[in-house]
Each structure stands twice: as C-alpha cells, then as structure tokens.
Assembly symmetry: D2
Homo-oligomer: 467 residues x 4
C-alpha cells in the first residue's frame, strides 16, 4: 500500500488557506534562521499605528504564497499533461514562491526611500531574496542535484530567474510568482485576502482559485478563461479599495516618513549600507532595529534626533498631515516634485517655512500597467466548442463595464509638516494650494483653519485618505 | 426594580443582525396571515435558477429592515434629545419599515412588466403595502390611538406617508425607510448585506451602522458625517457589483421573461387584474401561483401555452440569450426600443424572424440620481471644533476618488430568442449588430456562430452578464 | 493542446463550496424535472417558523454533497494509484451523491411519522431515491453502458447499493455517501456547514476536507489519519450543538406535529399512500402540498380540520409546548411511550384530558452508534516512519478528552397540548411531572403556572429546547 | 443643535468590534508610552511557533475589552435607570477595562514560572497593572477630580479595586472586568472571539452581546436572563475547545519552557527581579527582551546558554515532547509533581536521565470553579409575567444538557526532554509510563519507538495535544 504521499507531508493551520499542505522537504528552507527571520518583519510595518490589529508578518505571507503557487503548478500539470511538468519544475516554482520575500528589509518603504534619498541607491528586494536563498542552500548543505533523491531536486537557474524578479518573462512558469508581466500571481492572491482578513474583512466568498484552476498554457503563456475576467476585476477593485481605505491612511504614512528620518539620523552609528552589503549583518536586521536605536548609548547628536523621533512615535506626536493632490494630469512632474518645489510657492503672508519643516510621500497607484488599462496585458482563451478549437483573445474595457474609470493611475503626493504648529500649517496649506492652482489642479487640504479656507476656498479634499 | 423593558421584548435569530430585538407590540403586525404571506414571496424570485442557494424571502428582509430602522430612530433620539422624538414617532417609523414590502406581488418584475405590457397599468407596490397595512389594523382591531397604552400608539398618517413612498419628503424621519430622495435607507442597508450573504459573501466587515450612529438632523434633513462618505461609497460599489455579478445574470433574466409570458398566457383564466383590485384575492397571491397554473385543468389554449412554459423552466429549456448593449449614449431611445425596432434591422441573408421570436429585458442601472452623480443628493455635516459650529456641506466626486467613473447610469438592453434555434440565433445576432452599428454603439454578442463572427466581427461582449 | 478537461465543465456558485465544478455529463441528471423537484423540498421544512432565514432546499444540498463526494473519490485515486479507481467508479459514486436525496418527501419527519402512525408503514427515502434515479435514466434515455463514451459510463449496481443505503457495506467506496457504518460521509460534511451558515454561523474555519484528503484505504475500508480525530470530534460537537440550539426548537417541533396532523386529516382526500406507490404522483408531491390542501374545495369534515390547522400555522396559533424529559435511563420504554401512557398519570385535581389534547414528539439523538461511543466505529491509520509500515488502530474516548461525556445518546420526549388552554396546561404538567417522578427522572416543564410550581416543585427544565 | 456627543468621539477599526467608539478623553490613557508598550507584548507569545498567524498583542485586546465594558455599563444604565449610574462610574469601569492588562510582562507564563521557580516569587499582573495606571495619571497630570470637567472625572478607588483583581467582589460593577466570581466578563468576551479569529475561525455568529444587553442587577449582582444560558455554555465550550486545539499545542508549550529557561540563564545579567521592582525598567521590558539577550556581548557562561537556546528556537531545534497525563484523579499530587518525582521511576533498562534532561509544564484547565460545575456560580433571573415579579434562580447542569461532562477540571502534566535523543526519549517514556501505572492512570505517549511500545503497550495518547 502506498502511503508515502501522506507520510511525508505536514499541515500548517492558516486563517486564509485553512490547512497549508507542505512536503517535509520544504522544511529544509523554512526551519533555518534565515527564513525564521521573516517572523520579525511585519508585512505592513506602519499600518498598526492606524489599525492596531494589523501586525502580520512576511513569514505567514511567504507560506501562503507557497501554498498557492504549489497548487497552481500542480493544477497546470493535471490539466495539461502535454506540458510534461516535472517534479523538478514543481519544486523550483514552489521554492521560489516560498522564498520570494526573504530579502525584505525592516520597514520596507521607509528603508528603501532612505537609501534612495541619502545614497541614491536602489535597493532591490528580489535580488537580496535570491542571495539569501543561495545562502540557505550553502549553510544547510542542500543538494539540489542529487539524482538519488528525485523528490528533492530543483533547478537553481529557474529559481534565480523567478526569485530575482526577471523583467523578461519567456516561460509560463515564471508568471506564477513575481509576475512582472501583469502582476496576476500567487503573491497578490495571498496578500490581498490576508490583508483584508487582518483589516477586518474575512473574504470567504472571494475566490481566486478559480483563476488558477482554469488557467491554460498557450504559446508558453498563462491564459485565463474568458469568464474568469470577473475574478480579475474583483482583484483589481479590492486592491484599489485596500489602498484607498487602509494602506494609504494618513497616520500610516506619517509614521513611514518618521521612520525614514530615523534611518537617516541613525545611519552614522548603524551604517545601513554595510548591512546590505554584508549578508550576516542583513540577516539580523529586522523590525527590532527601532529598539536597538532606542537602546543605543551614545552622544552622537544625530542619533539623539533619531531617538527623539522614536519617542515621538511612542507618544503619537506624529508628523502632521497637510494635504494631498493627484499629480497625474499635471504639467509639472511627479518625479521631480520635492520639498523645494513646494517652498517656492510659500507666501509672505505667512511664517517662513524651511525644507526641514516639510515631508513628502509620493505614491504611484495603478494596476500594473502604468496609466494604461491593465486588461490589455492579460491573455484569455476562448473555446469554440463546435470546431473544437481554442484561441487566445484580449479583452477591451468596454466589454466588461461601462461604468468603469477612464483613468488607471493616480500619482498621489502627500504633504506633511514635521510638527503640529498652527502657523506652519497655515503656511504649508497656502503653499500647497498655490502650487496646485498654478499647475492646474486642486489641492485637498486636510484641516483648514477657518480664515484660510475663506481666502483660498479650498475646503475640498479626498476623504479616502483621512479615515 | 425595573425589568419591564426586558420583559416585553423578544429576539429573532438572523444571520445578518444576529439577534433582532423586537417589542412584543410589533408581533401584532407580524403574526397575522397578511404578514406571514411574505414567507411565500421570494426576494429575488428567479435568481435561484442561476444560483441555487438564493431563496430568501420578503419575510426575513422585512424583519431586517425593521431592525435597522428601529435602531436608527432610537440613535437619533439619543444623539439629539432636542428633536423630542416620541414613542409614537418611534413606533410609526418602525412599523413602516416592518410593513414596507407587504404589497409585493409574486415574481415582482415579471408581474409588473406583464401588467404594463398587457394593460398599460403601473402597479404600485408601495400603495398596495399601505392598503394591506390598513387591512391588518382593521382585521386585528389594532387601536393606534389608545391613550392608555402609550407604548402602542402610532401615527397612521406618518405611516401612510412613509409606506406609500412619498416623493416629496419634508421631514427627516421620512428618509429612514423608502427614502425617495437619495435611496440611502434601512431597506438597502438590509438587502445588500442579506443578498451578499446568500450569494456567498458574508460581510462581517461591511458596516453601515456607523452611518446611522453618526447621522445628525440639520434643517429637518438627515446629514451624514463627512468621514462616513467611505461607507456610502462602499454601499454604491457593492450595489453595482451585485447587479453586474448576480442580479442581471442571463439565466435569471431569461426566467424572468418566461414568467412574464406565463402571466400573459394564463391571464384569461386567472384574471390578475381582479387579484390586485380585490384584497382578499391578492392576499393569497404568492410564488405558488406557478404551481396553481400548472395544476389547473382546462382546455384553454392560452393556458396550455403557459403550462408548457412552466415545463420548459423545470427542464431548463430556457429563452436563449442573444446579446446586450448599453443604450445610454444612443441617439435612439431606451424607452421606445422594442421587438419591432429590432425587426426592422433584420437582413434578408437570414431566416425571417417574427415578433414572437424575440424577448427584450430593459434595465436602468444607476445609483439613485439618474445619470448624475448620486453624491450631489447627500448632505454631510462638518464640525468646526474651534468655533464649535456645524455646517452642512455637499461633496464633489473629485474629492473622493480620481479613479471613479464619469458615467453614473447604464441603460441595459438584453435580447433573447424564445428557442435555442441556430438559424434564428444568427438572424437575431445580425439584427442586433446592425441596429447597434447604425446607432453608433457596439453590441455584445453572447455566443456567435463562427461564420457570423467573421462577417460581422462582433466578437465582443460584456462578460459581466454571462457568468 | 488539451483543453477538453476545461471545455466540458461548468461551475455553480455556492456559499459553502464557492465554485462547484461539475462535468457537463452530470447535467443530464440535474436538468430533468425529477431532480428540479428538489427546489421545492426544503431541507429543514419547519425550521423557518422559528428561524425565518432557514429556507434552503434539498436541491442545493444535493449539489453540495455531489461536490464533496466527487473530490473525495478523486483524492483517493490520486493518493493511492494502486486502488485503480476507474472513471466508472468516479461517476458511480458522484452520481450516487448527487441523487441520494431524490426520494425526499415534503415535510419529511411529519410525513414519515404520519405514515407510521396511520398505516404502520415505514417509508424508506433511500429506496425511493433509487427508484427516481432509475426513472431519470429511463425518461432521459441515459446509456450508462456505452463503451464509446467512456467518460459517461457508470455502474448501476454500485449506484443502487449506495443510493439505497446498504446496511452491509463491504467496499470502501460505499462509505463515501450514505455511510451506514459510522455516518462520517459527504452528506454530513455538506449539511452541517450549510445549515450552520443558514442559521447564521459562517464556518470558514471548519474544514472537513482534511479528513478526505488524508484518508487511506486499508483492507477495503476508509481509515482516517490519527491526527484528524480532532476534525471528527468537531463534526460531532457541531452536530449536537445544532440539534440543541436549532433543530429541536420547540416551535419547529410544534409545527412539525401540526403538519403530521394535517396529513392525517387530509389523507382521505389526497390519498398519500397512492402518491408513494405511483411515481408520477410522487414526482409532483412537494412542499406545495399545504397550499393544495388549503385551496381544495370540499365539504369533507376531516379536510376542513386540516385546513383549519393550516390557518392556525399561518396565524402562529400553534400547538403549545408543555415540557420534555430524557428517557434514556428510564425503566419505561422510549418506544412504547405514547399519549395513553401519559393519560394514566393525570390527576383528579385537574381538568380531564383526552388523547386528542396531547401530542408527542420523540427524538433519538446520538452520534451514529446508539448509546455507545461512536469512536469505536472509526478506523484510523498510524504510520510508523522507521519501519515504513502503516497499521489500523481504533481510538478510545479517554485518549482524546477527559472532559467529554460518559453518555452518547439522549432519548428526548417532547410533550405538547393542541391548544393554549391554561387548565389543560396545568393538567398536562401534572401528568408529565407525575410520570417522570414515578419513573425515576425529572420533567423539564416549559412554563409553569405559579401555584403548580409550588405544588410540584418542578421549576427545572432544559433551556436548550426553549430558545 | 447638539453635536458635542459626536464631536468628542473617535473610531478605531477592529476586526472583532468593527468600529470601536471611544471618547477623546480616554486617549489620555492610550497615547502615553506606558500604554503603547502593549503593542510589544503578544497576547499568546509562543503560539506563533505552531500557528504562524497568531501574533496579536495586548494592545488590541485592551481596546476590545474597553469597548465591551463601556457598552456593558451603558446598557445597564439604560435598562435600569433606578441604579443611578453616573458618568463617573462609567468612566471608572471603562478605564479599568482599558488598563486591566497594563502590567503584562513579556512571555507571561514563561516569565511568571521563572520567577516562581527561581525566587519563589508570585508575580501579580493585576497589581502591576494598577501601578502603571497610577503612573500614567502622574506623568500625564490627569485630574480625575476636576469638578469643572464632569465628563472626565473617575473614582480612583473603584479603578483600584477592579484593576487589582479584587477577590471579594461586593458591587455589581466590579464584575464587568476582572470578574473573580465567575469569570464571565468583558475580558473573556473579547479574547475568545479575538483568538478564534486569529487562529482562523471568524465568529460572526457567536454573540456574547445578548448576555450584556439582557443582564439585570438584582441585590447588587449581575444576573443573566434564563434563556441566555446557551450563550454562556457556548462560551465555555469554545474556551475548552480553544485550549485543546490551540493554546496547549505541544510546540507552543515547548517554546514556553525554553523561554522560561532563557530567563533563568540570563537572570544574572538582566536582573529581572529589579525590573519588576523598578517601574521605569519594567516599562521598557517587552517581547524584545529575547533580541536583547541575543545581542548582549558578554562572556558570562550562563548567558551563553541562554543565547544558545534562542538560536535553537530560531532553528526550531526544540525541547522534545514525551507525553502527557491527566493528574485530576491521581493519588499523587498535581502541585508537588516535579522532575525528581519522575526520575524515581526511571528503569535500569535505559540510559540514565538527570534532572536537567527533563522539563515539565503543568496546566490546570477548568471553567472558573475548580473541579465543580461553573454554573453554580452564575445567578440568573426569571420573570414571572403574571405576578410581574422577578426572582433570582440558579441552574443545574441536568437542566441544560444530558450529554455534558461529569468532570469540570483537567490537571494536565506535559513532559518534555531537552534534546531529541532517542535513548533519552526511551528512558523518559519508560519513566512516565511507570509513574502513571503506579498511580493508577495511563500516560499518553507522543511517539513511541516501536520496541518500547511492545514492551509497555502504551500506544494511546491524547491527540488533542499533538495537532
């Protein structure tokens, strides 16, 4: 009797996937400290300051993404035997999903923006993930090429391509995780449902599995069933909704800016660039960094400023939100807008602002195809039952929905001042309002002092960001 | 010790509201057969043919609407003592909510369209509801004016206004149920969550109660808190979503058309106009009408056609969906389009269609303000903490969301043929395609025979309606 | 490219299984009127009188049971290739699940108890289901033996065994549906989650699929993984809980008794015994029978009593609950207890009761192994990794839980009087109390008139039945 | 117009309570760092090692408990005006709920057991909570006695009694939080639903609010409505279920023991007794202690052992579970059983075990009334409608349920060895088996080496603990 199948697997209880089935082999990657580190990296590190219950980690998300990718590739194998999907390919794709977030730094946006701002350095999470993946193979002596243990083989080149986030996808199996073509992948299937559950919206009825169950590989591409366009639309609508209602909350984004500054001020002492160049350092670099900064004994003045900011976060004395605007249709550029741009629009009627009074958070919000309709990137298949043929089709927006948007991107600029000071607030509001008027759009001011409002008549603002 | 409060109430277990708290007094309206009749009137009478589990009734929805309205008016009383909301007003509003659907006929759209088509008669559900409300008062000897039983008094004129669906609302309390101003009322709060649950989307996280908890009455109008605009947006998005994914399903709408025809064919024998003019007849008129028609022994030929259609529904031999288009921007009119309009566009290349081959379902889908932004009808209040003042404001679309639509209505025309006949299908597709081309829009054809597609190149269609 | 797999299947949206995947072949059994009839047979026909939202039908439950059984047998095939599970076996088991409830009469307990009481006839739902299954094969000309259409073959003998509820199960695949060995089957997996959802308890986290995913066939028996004993325990706990909180509600059971009497009184006119002997009659016999009785014009006195009872249900003038007791440890017998037994215990202090004043509902509540621990019937397997062996083990209660019961059955007797009359209530309470005292147990009286309580000191009762 | 009510409140989004309504006044206690510290104290600190998603904090639980207590006391005020519940009392009870967990140490059981073991010191969380509560009042200059700000007054003596966990409750309002009489309080209402959600069981249908809505104060005691006994039973069943399935998981408890040892080994360096005697130290003592230990540079040998244990947790090289037994009916004592007791039962057939090889976790699991039925402590009220009286009654177990347990406590002893060594495992199993046999019970061994099993025939064990 054959019970090997059952013998070598394990279940992990999860609130999204109920029971994540996992072959014992994969535990070789999960148990090492490099992977366990993800328990100390929050998925949405500053959301808990606006929504106390949002404290899930990259650890659970990685297991969830694995679970989806593992079923996804097995479904393809089952639906299309002619693809000759091997155990090696299944292992390669599943491991890539499991390890796709290994390189996450703590406080991701804050950290990445800090590196960009100070060193003009673009930190690449995917490449770091692959480095750590290699490191696990090395420290754990994993023999991926052992012909005797067929069940444990995988193709390290495929893993490299997928984990590193290859921009030029040529094979269907590279679309299952880190899908740089259209973003419809195991990662978003997991994080969207997981985040929604954590923010308080259990999504029993939202079912992305139908997409993967019905997918067909044609011309080495993943194509979805025509009818399942609804599920893709659901996914996009929920993604936008989550951004508007939760991810971009003004407090969440305020703390994000403060932590970026904490990295700036503590850099002399903690030398972050070294941390990302030295794998051993990086592997102990987690959300705990804030406590380390706080506990550090030193007379370094810059560090003291960092420590001061940590105390301000603890006491909820946060950077103060001024307002926001959408830069998408502006003559001026989203990329180049910065504190100095704004300072040019200050008015002599108000107190003098300096660059250090202002902080800016810039967010591009789209559906994976810049300002174009993301549908254009998704191949569907259409079965003609009579002729028994199957062809690839692309869908147009009008075919789905006449009440949908004619814009597919927002370029959101959020302005903060570093302290809650009424005179500075007035000055910042005036500058933002002037800037927007001059550039042909309207600023959405958060809380206008009464008089000011009469002067500038700018009472309107995007409620979505001000919950 | 005071336990009267607890003594005189009862709880009804409900999957949306958990425990509906209900004063015993209201049972005088629930227990009579006129109200119990609603157990035999399905809320979405033909949806169960596409979604087997959708079989909830007006009975549960009426209790749910009551529950919301009853809490709503009590919250207002609590929040604004200066409104002097009396027990009489609470009773009047709560009873109106409870009874707002008493006049529902079986298979509502089918029945109403049948009356319109055959007799050009506009059946008014709200007025019928009020008639039955009066009838309960009479048959149960309910003394609404008894000064000795203060707890059981209500104002029958207020009930009349609310239940009958007054178009000229002058008092805030008329907005709580049957809100003809903007549609944000207890009825939609209940049916949206209830329908979503039944279609498989439990909505623990969707919370409309915050809207009612924070409402303020200013100038005799219900105004919502500025921040709660998000909840109103959620409501609208979910309403559109439910229409697109569920309410307008092609099978649901096919059966709806068939039942309209069943009413037409059986009218000679069942004399429906008499049923609505004679209250006793109407009170036994429920979803079981289909079985009554089926069991009727008669040689009447028209009745036999009705019986034949019932058998076709039972065997799922349904009217066949041809395609759809949106009439909103068309030169030709939504109102006047009918079978004959279409027949003019048939082509001699195809079989001859007659009026009886075609059926048309027309649906206006909007958010309660025709083709205008429904936001314009919703007053919000804005508290100025400094001046301790509170003013009414209206919001603009741009303030909420830049990715939202610039259109607020669809006028959906759905075309069916009465039998699944390939030649007729080709002819109908050709006519629909020609008509649309001629009127400057594009038809969405459901399933095109291969050749035809090449000829007309009309492969596109709205997936939303074809689940 | 192979897309036949995808081409020939369909999805049905369901709130429990999300998307029920169904091969087109099975539609040959679903579309005929014999199956569609189940839309008119409620799953819990009298529960809606206590819980308005509980109105789901055998139709949805049949689809759900199919969905589970279909996945179940496919999992076994996948896990144990050595079983050589054929497409024929998959079809046979899946069809049996789909059709296992075809023979359900309307108002099942009421109808079955009526036949037993009047004719001492034991109506067998399973046998009737198989008859109708055969009937569909005949009327739809289904060729189950067509060697050319391998995908559509099935073994009618296997179907017969399973659908008819074979008491002597010899093959593992007979345990998947109608499992007479231990009741752990696709049917309970579906109805428990479905009922819980409808009563208001969405059960996202309750996962029976792990049981089926990990099942192993050893010695032609289904054995569960040792660890999954927890899921079986969950299932039993939820089953008991649902009975105590919902299924046995006093109002539900009151209406059940009234409908049994309606069958009795209307039998002369409707001749129910003929209905079950004539398949065509049976196939139009649905929940609609109550309306047919109501609408029947006749001077038959017995029928008028039936019609009177229907009106009483409509007005909620129900049989009145007196009290209950558990007969499990009594010297007297559960089987023989009846109205006359009770009448012997009336007291001359009270009004004289007659047999017609009293109604009795008897329910045996256990977990599928009479008064013995159901665990004793469930084989588990235990894998010994070292020796690479796998053995069958049985578990003892003490191994799971020390706080669990030492009793596994209740024999619940519920007593009603046919009208809410205080003198009769007093007399019935006295009789019940005396009877119980005499037989060494205690009655649980629902609502005791004050004085009576002092006399008999019988204030205690099972709250579970009185929600 | 009155909008003060609305002006001064705020909402916090929560997945259990949806929107927690909170008067701005309470933010004076939430914003200070003493309260924010709870963000770094996990509710179930070692559960995330068996269930990755379980990482919620005392911060969210404190807000949730506040939300329930605040509504609870307001309901009482509303239902029984004669109680004259003042704003001061509402504030006192609500603040006590908010602050009832302020004194939680990191890794609570591990820390408390360490103090007990090393110093025989009983750490009292409740008293520490009150100390920190006082500390907030002092550092924030909160004037609880300001007659001018009536809305912000509270009675510090009531807070002291409630927060400190008074064992002699004399007033009903002391039962709302930290209910030492019967444990039915706001705290368990929150944590049970919260934990269930986090473990993957959203509990939309479980409704404890009905208990508080219907509570009546009689003789200065909280009495529940007779019918609501079902909800209390649900609560107990779910509590037991959660323990068996989740809280007591073998891995969770293994890590708990390891962290206790980490405290022991690092005590020399970190001086934990000083931390609890010095409030400032305690206020920076959080779950990050493990990282602090890990990063500490020192040659202290004991510390190195602590650091080694942390690495073992990171690599999941955990203390190894041997087995368990229930000590409730044993001649020997639960209290005195320890490593040495077990060592006396080792056998010369096996390797020699030392005290340091063994670890023991002892858990008393009951429902708040030791080994007696917890129902005996819950007063219910019974309304007699005729006489218009209301009396207090106590319920007996038999009245609810005949299938319930006759035991109300388990005394669970869980045995671990400190390394996964087969010889040591055999020796430990033998000792445990012998001990149990000698004391008249049976051990439940987790994984028995084959031979051993034949010798001792001890294949049985409690699956509940071995998920």
């Amino acid at each position: 009797m054959n019970f090997q199948n059952i013998k070598n697997k394990k279940y992990i209880q999860d609130y999204i996937h109920q029971q994540i089935e996992i072959d014992n082999f994969y535990l070789k990657f999960i148990n090492p400290f490099q992977f366990q580190r993800l328990r100390d990296i929050k998925q949405l590190p500053t959301s808990c300051f606006s929504f106390p219950s949002v404290n899930h980690t990259r650890f659970e998300h990685s297991l969830g993404t694995f679970s989806i990718a593992n079923k996804y590739i097995k479904f393809l194998k089952n639906n299309q035997p002619e693809l000759n999907i091997s155990k090696i390919l299944i292992n390669s794709v599943s491991l890539s999903a499991l390890c796709h977030n290994l390189g996450s730094p703590p406080y991701s946006s804050s950290f990445i923006n800090f590196l960009k701002e100070k060193y003009n350095f673009d930190f690449n999470v995917s490449e770091m993930s692959y480095k750590i993946f290699e490191n696990i193979i090395e420290t754990e002596n994993i023999d991926y090429d052992n012909k005797d243990k067929e069940d444990e083989q995988f193709d390290i080149n495929i893993c490299k391509k997928i984990i590193s986030g290859n921009k030029n996808i040529t094979n269907y199996y590279e679309e299952i995780v880190n899908n740089t073509k259209n973003g419809i992948d195991s990662c978003i299937f997991d994080y969207l449902k997981r985040d929604m559950y954590k923010f308080g919206f259990p999504t029993q009825g939202i079912d992305f599995q139908i997409l993967t169950n019905n997918a067909l590989i044609i011309d080495n591409k993943i194509c979805f069933r025509e009818n399942d366009i609804n599920s893709i639309n659901d996914l996009w609508n929920n993604k936008i909704n989550m951004n508007k209602k939760f991810y971009l909350h003004k407090v969440t984004k305020s703390v994000e800016l403060m932590i970026k500054d904490i990295f700036l001020y503590s850099d002399e002492q903690f030398k972050y660039l070294e941390k990302i160049n030295n794998l051993n350092d990086f592997l102990t670099f987690t959300d705990f960094i804030l406590k380390q900064i706080k506990l550090k004994n030193s007379n370094n003045n810059s560090l003291k400023k960092a420590q001061e900011l940590i105390k301000r976060i603890e006491k909820r004395n946060l950077y103060y939100f001024v307002g926001t605007y959408d830069s998408i249709n502006l003559k001026s550029s989203f990329e180049t807008f910065n504190e100095e741009t704004l300072l040019k629009y200050t008015s002599s009627d108000y107190i003098n602002l300096t660059k250090d009074d202002i902080r800016i958070n810039k967010i591009k919000l789209n559906l994976g195809n810049d300002n174009k309709d993301p549908l254009l990137n998704i191949p569907f298949y259409k079965i003609n039952k009579k002729n028994n043929t199957c062809e690839v089709v692309y869908k147009k927006r009008e075919e789905i929905d006449h009440m949908l948007p004619n814009k597919f991107e927002e370029q959101i600029i959020m302005i903060y001042i570093t302290e809650k000071n009424e005179e500075k607030l007035k000055a910042a509001i005036a500058a933002l309002t002037n800037y927007c008027k001059d550039n042909g759009t309207q600023a959405n001011i958060y809380k206008s002092p009464k008089k000011l409002m009469q002067k500038y008549n700018s009472s309107l603002f995007s409620k979505k960001l001000f919950n």
